[in-house]
Symmetry: C2
Subunit: 221 residues, 2 copies
Amino acid sequence: MTPETVAAPAKPPLRERRKLRTRQALIDTALELFGEHGFDGVTLDRLCEAVEVSKRTFFRTFSSKEDVAMAPTQDLWAVFLEVLESCPPDGRRLVSLYEDALVESIGRMPDGGWAERVLASRKLAARTPSMSAHGLAFCDRVGGEAVAVAVRRFTLDATADGAARLRARLALDMLLSAFHQALAAWVAQPSGHTREDLTRRLRTVCAELPGALAATVEPRG
Amino acid sequence: MTPETVAAPAKPPLRERRKLRTRQALIDTALELFGEHGFDGVTLDRLCEAVEVSKRTFFRTFSSKEDVAMAPTQDLWAVFLEVLESCPPDGRRLVSLYEDALVESIGRMPDGGWAERVLASRKLAARTPSMSAHGLAFCDRVGGEAVAVAVRRFTLDATADGAARLRARLALDMLLSAFHQALAAWVAQPSGHTREDLTRRLRTVCAELPGALAATVEPRG
DNA sequence: CAAGATTCTGCCACTGAGTGGCATAAGCCT
DNA sequence: AGGCTTATGCCACTCAGTGGCAGAATCTTG
């Protein structure tokens, strides 16, 4: 939501610094504890005790227990919206534009441990329904904002005007769907969980979109 | 999940009858109260008091507070899985097969008030994040089951074998996306909330899928 | 540097969702 | 009608999330 959350390298760095440090400490400790004892196996009291922070402070930083474990992915989508805001629409297909913007966003994620945090977060989400639900809802909300950016900045070659928004949304959902499949495959692989590998998988899955739409079907054997 | 929940006209009807009656009473009363005071404005204690049922019984019938408000949509997807299990794959495109199965499922919904319940449920979900999240997660789970049915019953014209599952999933997500957009537009319209109209909108949105994938984009103005 | 204004934090009590246990009543079978 | 199964009600409990308030830390102004 607030752009200053991400784009603030060293502006008013005295009080906010501390805030970001506790935020990161909460994320790291949460992923560690959740990974060890499971999401439901760790109460917020325990987490807050480990970080030496009151529960009240936790809820000033995150909106829910699921939120802290989803932070790595949410950071990615925040950057995605920024990238989408300033990328050049040079006659590409809209889906490709979305795809490139997401690839660019992945590239902008910090080297230091981001991939590891996403990996831990997604492994957790895979076995925790409430986390999965929370993540899906977040993506849906981001999707709405992204479509708003798209229809504001771009002109689609659509017949009607209402169809433009619809197509922008359908295209974005295709990207979302592809990303989730790419992420799932990336998480499932035994090793080599790098940003580059995630990007590669995203490209591969996106390339399957036309095939998925056109594929025909016959009865088995 | 259990097929006898839906496909049981009058089989062992003495004890289960009562169960289904209280279930329906809970759904109707919940939608009524939630619609009047908002989802968060009604506690489960109040709902249970209104239906004269203990809270313990509520949680034996539904898995969560969101669950009861989402029941109409969940019934639809349960039927969808049944239809998908027995529909003939006569060389159609997979997306069209999904689409037809969903249209068929909508047609099989009971005349008596189903559309009204879905309308109330979706209006509520639009202003209740936790309901929206719950619904998204449910669709995702159903999606997984539907893909399992598809890869078991059908043969896709895909190059690799792993690509078949992937394409089946991407195609299904396209249907899901289209359905959600159709549903949103259907809910937003002022009147005429019939099953037939919902079907018509679904067809229309699905027809936009190729356009959404192929659409190119230019800068505004 | 001091004193006031702001803001953050910790503590406490509270609501409400969801769970487990156990006694009881209702439906089921023979 | 007998026991057997299964649903229900009730109670107590855990834990996520919220509001209020007092006090400490930080920023601002003289």
